[in-house]
């Protein structure tokens, strides 16, 4: 078969990827036409990143499937293989070295040389050519740290097309760009397409898809739902194709309704990087969920409330009283607690014992005149371990040695020991097995009976629908919906989550 005439650049047949306990991709088929911009869509956790990593050589697929690229069988076992074949991935987190120049970054793995020395004249002239292809007017010698995020993004693209790149994969390239910079990026993607480059484009912004993509494919729950031309496909059609994830575990639906008493109110919260003020309230005995796409400023919002990051303006009322929260210390004082997304990095002291971690937020409770009563500390830790059913041989065990689910329970125990009234969870069940998840849901409900208020950020829509009284939907930093339990509906929530990305 004539290579050039083939309309297909990449063909994926029957590719499956299993992680322990999870099927991330299920016999996925995909065809990407040469010279097209192909959009890849799907809800959080639908399998987009997994698919990209398989194409980019980051993951090996399960045996059974196959790929062809540029007319030849394609099975990259490392990102290097993929680059050699002509596949370049530009990730959302940029991988540039800040103190090196633009030119050095672009040609890092193939610096032109003259003898043992770098041929800077050649390096700069070649860089200049590449920069003009991506529409950047920059001095090739200027260090990357001085560039804007948009410029860095374009430098990444220049780097990607510096070698013979046939397929460019852009993962959420506009997530941190202004709309003007995004427009510029689209122009460049179109120009590169006209030069014959094929692009796979991942984005939450459905509007962008209509601007630059020719085809779109939708993943749902690890399965490829549809591949179709962009023209003739409406946004509601896209959204309804994305929903429909199966319930993968049961949720212990609580019997107790939330009280009417407001325990926390947030008014007009503003923080850097968000254009919209955030206002909402949380009731006593209520689980309030925050849904939204990854990157919709959910984590940033709860961190700003908690004082972990600086906020620009806005007020927080706890139990009707205004509190001035400038640091986590102020927040804890006011009865708040934050269980962060990153347990190991921000929630636990891994090389300390379970007992030490449990008392970390309130060591004064087991000490007199600043001296810790180790016996009382162990007793408290044992009581909470039993209450939360933490599986550990002893409370003197280092937290490092516990499983993910048990570690999460230790974080929870820490805040129960502190007796926080408002618990803010950021992705409480990420990376935890199904059994432990269920136990954590049960725990949440027992906490409600004690009159606490719970705020949960989760990327798992089913989880939120299963356990929350109410769900706020975030869309690019704006609350687009406040839904009561009776109104929960996947399709509805998802269209709210996309709302602010469309118009």
């Amino acid at each position: 078969m004539d290579k050039i005439a083939s309309p297909r650049l990449l063909q994926i047949d029957n590719v499956t990827k299993t992680f322990p306990g999870v099927k991330a991709l299920l016999s996925v088929n995909l065809e990407v036409r040469r010279g097209s911009v192909h959009a890849l869509l799907g809800e959080n956790g639908a399998g987009k990143s997994t698919l990209v990593k398989i194409v980019g050589g980051g993951y090996l697929p399960d045996p059974g499937g196959s790929m062809t690229f540029d007319g030849a069988p394609y099975a990259p076992s490392s990102p290097y293989d993929a680059i050699i074949a002509g596949v370049r991935v530009v990730h959302q987190e940029l991988n540039l070295l800040p103190y090196l120049s633009v030119a050095e970054n672009i040609f890092l793995d193939s610096l032109p040389r003259r003898g043992p020395f770098v041929d800077y004249r050649k390096l700069y002239s070649e860089t200049g050519l590449l920069l003009s292809r991506v529409g950047l007017d920059l001095n090739p010698a200027s260090p990357v740290e001085l560039l804007s995020v948009a410029q860095m993004q374009l430098v990444e693209i220049a780097k990607a097309i510096s070698t013979s790149c046939k397929l460019l994969i852009l993962d959420e390239p506009t997530a941190s760009l202004s709309s003007r910079d995004a427009e510029r990026l689209f122009g460049i993607v179109r120009a590169l397409r006209d030069q014959g480059l094929t692009t796979i484009y991942i984005s939450h912004h459905l509007k962008e898809i209509y601007e630059i993509a020719d085809c779109l494919s939708i993943l749902r729950n690890g399965e490829m739902v549809t591949t179709r031309p962009v023209s003739g496909t409406s946004i509601p059609q896209i959204v309804s194709a994305m929903v429909g994830r199966q319930l993968d575990s049961e949720y212990p639906v609580g019997k107790t309704p939330a009280s009417r008493e407001t325990i926390m109110e947030v008014r007009n919260l503003r923080f850097d990087g968000n254009k919209y003020p955030v206002s909402f309230s949380l009731k006593k005995g209520e689980i309030l969920g925050i849904a939204g796409l990854i990157g919709s400023k959910r984590t940033e919002t709860v961190r700003a409330i908690f004082g972990a990051d600086r906020k620009k303006s806005g007020e927080v009322f706890i139990g009707g009283k205004k509190v001035d929260i400038r640091s986590p210390a102020d927040a804890v004082e006011a009865g708040l607690s934050l269980l962060t997304e990153d347990r190991k990095g921000q929630g636990l002291v891994l090389d300390m014992t379970l007992a030490n971690n449990v008392t970390l937020a309130a060591p004064d409770k087991v000490s007199r005149a600043g001296v810790i009563d180790m016996k009382a500390e162990r007793l408290s830790a044992r009581r909470l371990s039993a209450e939360l059913d933490i599986k550990t041989p002893s409370v003197d065990q280092l937290v490092r040695n516990l499983s993910g689910g048990n570690q999460q329970k230790v974080v929870l125990a820490k805040w129960l020991f502190k007796d926080a009234n408002i618990l803010i969870f950021d992705e409480p069940t990420r990376g935890i097995d199904v059994g432990a998840k269920y136990e954590i849901y049960l725990l949440l409900w027992t906490l409600l009976e004690k009159g606490k208020g719970i705020l949960i950020v989760s990327s798992d829509l089913n989880e939120l629908m299963g356990i929350c009284h109410r769900i706020l939907v975030f869309s690019d930093g704006k609350i687009t919906a406040d839904l009561e339990r009776g109104d929960f509906d996947q399709e509805r929530i998802l269209s709210y989550a996309y709302q602010n990305y469309i118009d």
Partner: protein, 328 residues
């Protein structure tokens, strides 16, 4: 079964963490005692006690700072500045002896604490690494000491003061008693108090402690102040031992202190270590210096051997960490 397992692991941990370095110390002492005639004499042992006392007290303060992942390079210069201020106070003829004594001790400790506060405050407020701030303080304190003293050494302290310095309690020199008291107090603070717990926790994971609602800055600055206070005490001990106050003394003390802490198994990146280790670390350096001198080794060679031992201790430490990972 489980319980027994934990128990044996605990012992193994203890062996690897504290006793490992203790074993090296015992072997070292045994070798010197066997092959160097005068090493094990009461007189010499008492000498070693005296020689390691000052470094032990400085290292105690240094341990707190290093446990937080910081470092204090200014201890030697600050010690010299402390002796100048204390020396000027105690030789002030206008003050009756008891007042002069209390004033001198107070001035020394206060001076150390102020310098420590400066180090900690600047490092925390502007997020400058303590290496740089304390490098600056090293020069500031040295310059201040020279300026205030007119670059002159102060001596002729009151006789009672000098006499106290040479006293011994049951054969143990009084300044060693002071050093051991200091280490014990520090050990108690680290292992039993909320303050000590926070030092370890911050050294391990500062962000987690901050998100628990603790003011981590306050603890970090306090560690530098505490280190400064230790230097102030060490300055008084120096005056008791050598009966002089001088603007040029103390050069290189920071390196001996850091060496003691590191040989003692405290991790330079913070979070791990103990004062028991530091005490043994200081003792190893002292025994080495003393023993090698008795053998007749020249100054330069002695320095080389001491240096090699420091490197060897740190290399051994990496194996220790790997071993204890393996068994935990």
């Amino acid at each position: 079964m489980q319980g027994k397992n934990i128990q044996s692991r605990k012992w193994l941990h203890l062996l690897l963490n504290e006793a490992g370095i203790g074993l090296i110390f015992v072997v070292l002492c045994g070798l010197f005692a066997a092959f160097v005639p005068n090493f094990a004499s009461l007189n010499n042992i008492s000498n070693i006690f005296t020689q390691i006392s000052i470094n032990t007290v400085i290292s105690t303060g240094m341990t707190f700072v290093i446990l937080l992942g910081g470092i204090d390079l200014s201890v030697g210069s600050v010690l010299s500045l402390c002796t100048i201020l204390a020396g000027m106070t105690i030789t002030n003829k206008a003050l009756p002896f008891p007042f002069a004594l209390v004033g001198a001790v107070g001035a020394s400790i206060l001076c150390g604490m102020i310098c420590g506060f400066f180090n900690g405050f600047v490092a925390e407020k502007w997020k400058v690494h303590s290496f740089v701030v304390t490098l600056g303080m090293l020069n500031i304190a040295r310059g201040a000491a020279l300026q205030i003293s007119g670059s002159r050494t102060i001596f002729s302290f009151p006789a009672a003061f000098n006499a106290f310095g040479t006293m011994a309690v049951g054969g143990v020199p009084v300044i060693f008693v002071m050093a051991v008291t200091g280490v014990s107090l520090g050990h108690f603070v680290l292992k039993k108090t909320v303050f000590g717990r926070m030092i370890y926790a911050i050294g391990n994971n500062e962000e987690a402690v901050r998100l628990c609602g603790h003011n981590t800055r306050k603890y970090k600055i306090s560690a530098f102040v505490l280190c400064g206070a230790c230097v102030g005490v060490a300055a008084v001990m120096y005056m008791l031992r050598l009966n002089i106050a001088s603007p040029i003394l103390g050069a290189g003390f920071e390196l001996s202190a850091i060496a003691a802490v590191v040989i003692g198994g405290t991790s330079m990146s913070g979070g791990k270590g103990s004062l028991v280790g530091t005490l043994i670390g200081a003792a190893i350096i002292g025994v080495l210096n003393n023993g090698l001198l008795l053998i007749g080794m020249k100054d330069f060679a002695r320095q080389m051997v001491t240096g090699l031992i420091i490197v060897a201790a740190v290399v051994l430490d990496t194996y220790r960490v790997r071993l204890s990972r393996l068994f935990s």
